[in-house]
Symmetry: C2
């Protein structure tokens, strides 16, 4: 059992060569270490656990301090929807990531060198398999809720499909059940920029600088898709970065160029190009309702997962149509699902931002989860007493 | 006077050191050669000239043969809206381009070496200044129509604003009077990919391969913005390029990836990276209604330019809102303007494609132009006879 509340990420080895991680695509990993953070106190009956799944370039640090804030401060923390004073909150770094969990930059025990492109291809189900093992390690059989945005939402969805008995509620924000050709196209260009960069060196760049140009370009392009056209217009318009300076010709001149350059550069300090390839590719292949029996376990569950699906009307990365498809498939599977399209101007990034309507909806859904759990505990108690 | 109909591009020197091209931004070019093609026969009174302006990566070859088709076969040719059996049609390669007209890859007469980044920054007005000189060279005082899509439409618009007496009608298809922050953002990432490519060598790559990776990435990304999400979904969906082959991991796997790779590679054979920088930058700075007196000449003209503005409902590169802004400004200037939003599924690329509704609208507008010109000629004749 972990300490009830931690400030720094912990690490745990969840799979070893005696008990390897068997991957969805047929490969295996003989050593998987996971970095994760937790907040709050796990109830004695383990009934208050909320699992937070991060998106493409996130990490375990969902919430922190004013000096070292997390990536989801709006959602996670004292008095926030995922209330760390009430819930025991867990957030791991994803398998294939570069922030403490085993990934392509980790050392392959078979060779003593970093995996590079020898790392196996991953699927969202593989992420979930690792999450499930972490949950068991922490002594939790059933999550009160699994919560995520974008790729994080896909993990919540896949977990509920794979093991509905482990997920009382799933919150799928700005997610998708399968990417469109346009979604894949953007990822393909990003990967191409990384892999064509001479610094990529076929993935064996551990000694060098790595594909810094390619990774910056990938990040800049991705940022365009995370913001709505309207949000970009309001934030930057056609304003010059420095109206008094002479025009910089082809360098940074407009404020929006300065923003993108900054996003590209700062990303280099915190993210690895190989992780970008692996995690983005898992998105492309994700198609969780493709198999005819995809929802069978969910439909057959005694107490199936209840879903909250949230989209944002200005999101063009995963537009509301993606969320509607999820809702349609879940309704077809006869499971309880609430859907909310939130009117918010910031595009896909809205899932990270402060919006009363959005956060209030998630808070209410998690309140119900807590009440229901308390009711069931009370019911059980009453049953035992009778 | 040129031969009445030509199949191959001609070249003409339009500016020399005795009579240099004075640029909008303050610079000058002492030697400007222009490559252009013409089709059809100029009427004795030069009343049937239609000027076609190309977009970002076009050239003078608007229409050709089945073996060597042009980039606008749907619009230009015998029996097409810009009817080469009826009109004398002119299409030059743009200043700053790389298909025969003076551009950054041309030799700077002052140094004997290619200009590279010493080439001056260009504006849409500079393109128009060269067009106007070419028209005079061909003996045409007034165009029956100036027609263009995207950046081509901007040239038509700017020409009418600068010299309305020279443009009887202007057809502005899928254009914009000023780019949005998102538009600029995509161009900025494209330029960044080119300029960060080690092959760019600060623009002095004439001896080497040039920034092939950067230029391919720029083109791939641009192609995403030229197609609607719906068109991409219908054309490629989530189909694999070769369903029987093993997955290519991070290479080309989905059909949409194959398409983008192909577009990126073929572009390298026909376009120059420096021209991409210069022409795309001219788009960013274009803001033709910014000056308070921008429409004064147009409003004051005895016989002001008549406009047809066309947008496509699935175009998200220059959405209908861009065209509506043009229409609003022209209406404010009290000039005759027709506006048509065409329902077409293919996004920005629709302006190049066969669509009866779109092409019929342009054909009708040009028919009226021809009838009006004939009526005026008849009127003049009657005047002289009386």
């Amino acid at each position: 059992m972990p300490s009830p509340s931690t400030a720094a990420p912990q690490r745990v080895v969840l799979f070893t060569d005696d008990d390897p991680l068997l991957l969805d695509g047929g490969g295996r990993l003989d050593h998987v270490e996971v970095a994760y953070e937790t907040w709050g106190t796990l109830a004695p009956d383990a009934s208050n656990a909320v699992f937070v799944c991060h998106a493409l370039t996130g990490d375990a640090h969902a919430t922190g301090t004013p000096e070292a804030p997390g990536w989801w401060e709006t959602m996670v923390g004292p008095g926030r929807p995922v209330d760390t004073e009430r819930f025991f909150v867990i957030c791991p770094n994803l398998l294939g990531g570069c922030r403490g969990t085993t990934g392509p930059a980790s050392v392959d025990p078979a060779t003593g060198s970093p995996y590079g492109l020898d790392f196996p291809l991953l699927t969202v189900r593989d992420f979930v398999t690792v999450h499930r093992r972490l949950a068991r390690h922490l002594g939790i059989d059933r999550m009160l809720a699994v919560v995520g945005g974008s790729l994080g939402g896909m993990q919540a969805l896949q977990w509920a499909l794979d093991a509905p008995e482990e997920v009382a509620r799933a919150v799928v924000v700005a997610g998708s059940s399968r990417l469109s050709a346009q979604n894949i196209a953007f990822s393909a260009v990003a990967r191409s920029a990384i892999m064509r960069d001479p610094g990529f060196a076929d993935g064996r760049y551990a000694e060098g600088d790595g594909p810094r140009t390619g990774l910056a370009i990938a990040r800049m392009m991705a940022h365009i898709t995370y913001l709505s056209e309207q949000a970009m217009a309001e934030k930057f318009g056609r304003r010059f970065q420095d109206a008094d300076e002479p025009r910089h010709r082809f360098g940074v001149d407009f404020a929006v160029e300065s923003y993108l350059e900054h996003q590209g550069q700062t990303f280099l300090d915190r993210f690895d190009a190989l992780s970008y390839l692996y995690l983005s590719r898992s998105l492309d292949y994700f198609d969780c309702f493709a198999e005819p029996d995809a929802t069978d376990a969910l439909t057959a569950a005694d107490d199936p997962t209840r879903f909250l699906v949230v989209s944002f009307d200005s999101d063009w990365r995963f537009a509301t149509s993606h969320s509607r498809r999820i809702v349609r498939e879940l309704e077809r599977a006869r499971v309880p699902v609430s859907f909310r399209e939130v009117s918010a101007p910031h595009g896909h990034d809205s899932f990270l931002l402060d919006d009363d309507d959005y956060l209030g909806t998630v808070a209410a859904f998690l309140d119900q989860a807590a009440e229901q759990a308390a009711g069931q505990a009370g019911g059980k108690g009453a049953g035992r007493a009778s």
